[in-house]
């Protein structure tokens, strides 16, 4: 329970990392000021009092690192060894340098962190290079470069903090390699397998194509899009039949009135207005409401479907056009029926 609460609090705090840094700075300043005042009261000269106070407080940088480690690095640690994306990400280091073979176990611990990491832990991308942070186990790591932001667990995730650390400094019993080739994957797989078995016959090898690998993260959005599409289709059908029914009913019920209007010389436009005005009003009102709700529900939608946003003018125009066409389709036949009323025939029949 406590750890769960802590996790959520960390999630929350993670977003306010910069404020935390600010807060700590202020707290430290005040702490040292209070201690200095105390020392002055004890008879020290102001300069000496301040020196003593700072000595007593300890290394500010080390404290800051501990504070950061306490504040949120736990969250990124599970991404530590997920090297699947590293290969791609590390080719384009935004600033600083990438990892190299020289970053071995004898060299100082280094890492390339992504934009989100730099922003959250250090406040900005530019200030992160050359800074240090601490892992939960106390390892001190220097940031040597910034990698661009990536997607790590799902396509629709919010930006996640990630760090890339050299394999030689953090060996693991399993690893991912990305093989790029223009050859057919059917031929390539045995070749890769052979090459790896040549290294060590006992190595378990698991090979997966990039597209197959992408199936997994894409499954949820695909299903969501499909089901949303089907639901949308059903909704469109329902609305077409509903509008059609209402318009047809209104026309048939007011046949007599329409006939009289026509006999009195009403124009086609006026007849249509009388017959379908209400239907059109309802349609406009319903469409506007639907559009508004759709925009309001955009966050939910964006969570499910990658890059879905109703603010996209193309999407918005498409929706309006589709609604217009559906409305046209549904009122077409009743409109024709209203226009084809023959007052003479009507008189004879009634």
């Amino acid at each position: 329970m406590r750890s769960l609460r802590r996790f959520f609090s960390r999630l929350g705090n993670f977003a306010t990392r910069r404020q935390d840094d600010e807060r700590l700075r202020e707290e430290i300043a005040e702490h040292i000021a209070l201690q200095t005042a105390e020392n002055v009261r004890a008879g020290l000269s102001p300069v000496e009092a301040r020196r003593q106070a700072m000595l007593k407080f300890g290394g500010v940088e080390a404290i800051k690192e501990d504070y950061r480690a306490e504040g949120g690095l736990l969250l990124v640690e599970n991404l530590l060894r997920d090297l699947r994306f590293a290969a791609r990400m590390l080719r384009t280091v935004l600033s600083g340098r990438s990892l190299s073979w020289h970053d071995d176990k004898d060299a100082p611990h280094v890492a390339v962190v992504n934009v989100e990491f730099a922003r959250r832990i250090f406040g900005s991308v530019t200030s992160a290079v050359g800074e240090y942070y601490k892992l939960q186990d106390g390892t001190r790591i220097k940031v040597v470069g910034i990698a661009e932001q990536g997607k790590y667990t799902s396509l629709t995730e919010d930006p996640k903090a990630a760090m890339f650390i050299p394999f030689l400094q953090s060996p693991s019993s399993e690893t991912w390699m990305v093989v790029r080739s223009s050859r057919d994957s059917q031929q390539l797989a045995p070749a890769i397998r052979n090459a790896l078995q040549d290294l060590d016959t006992g190595l378990p090898v698991y090979i997966q194509t990039w597209t197959k690998e992408l199936d997994h993260p894409l499954f949820a959005p695909r299903m969501a899009t499909l089901s949303l599409g089907v639901l949308g289709g059903i909704a469109a059908m329902l609305s077409v039949t509903g509008i059609f029914g209402m318009a047809a009913y209104s026309v048939s019920k007011r046949k007599k009135e329409l006939g009289i209007r026509m006999a009195l010389g009403a124009q086609r436009k006026e007849v249509l207005q009388a017959a379908l005005g209400r239907a059109f009003n309802l349609l406009t009102f319903g469409s506007a409401t639907g559009l508004l709700l759709g925009i309001l529900a955009s966050r939910v939608l964006a969570f499910v479907v990658y890059q879905a946003t109703p603010r996209d003018p193309l999407v918005l125009a498409g929706v309006v056009l589709a609604m217009f066409l559906l409305g046209l389709l549904a009122t077409w036949i009743p409109a024709r029926r209203a226009l084809s009323i023959d007052p003479m025939k009507l008189l004879r029949e009634e």
């Binding site: 406590r2 609090s9 700590l24 707290e27 702490h31 500010v60 080390a62």
Partner: protein, 115 residues
């Protein structure tokens, strides 16, 4: 090394909770002063190490903090014990007393007692 800091963090946290329990809301410096006074020079840690502990406790919900005015009349962060913190303090106090009692008994034991 790691173990030592872990133990230290744990005891520091408990000291912080107890200090806040006894004295009410305090800023970081006040807590550090109190801990120093009570433990004497035995606990030779930098005062700064207190702040990560405070953050941890706050994230756990054991303490809460607000800005207030310090004796210098500047902004300082004041920490106070929450209800959950009080519960935690009780539980941990009990734990410590138990541990201390057991260890005490082991130290008191003489060879003839076991024969």
């Amino acid at each position: 090394m790691k173990q030592k800091t872990d133990v230290l963090q744990g005891t520091l946290a408990l000291m912080v909770l107890k200090t806040l329990d006894v004295l009410g809301p305090q800023h970081g410096y006040g807590i550090a002063r109190r801990i120093e006074q009570i433990s004497g020079d035995v606990l030779a840690v930098n005062q700064g190490t207190l702040y990560p502990v405070l953050l941890k406790l706050e994230q756990e919900g054991a303490i809460a903090s607000d800005w207030g005015a310090s004796e210098n009349n500047r902004r300082a962060r004041f920490y106070r014990l929450t209800r959950e913190g009080r519960k935690q303090l009780q539980a941990e106090t009990q734990g410590w007393e138990q541990t201390a009692a057991i260890i005490g008994r082991f130290f008191a034991v003489k060879a003839e007692d076991l024969s």
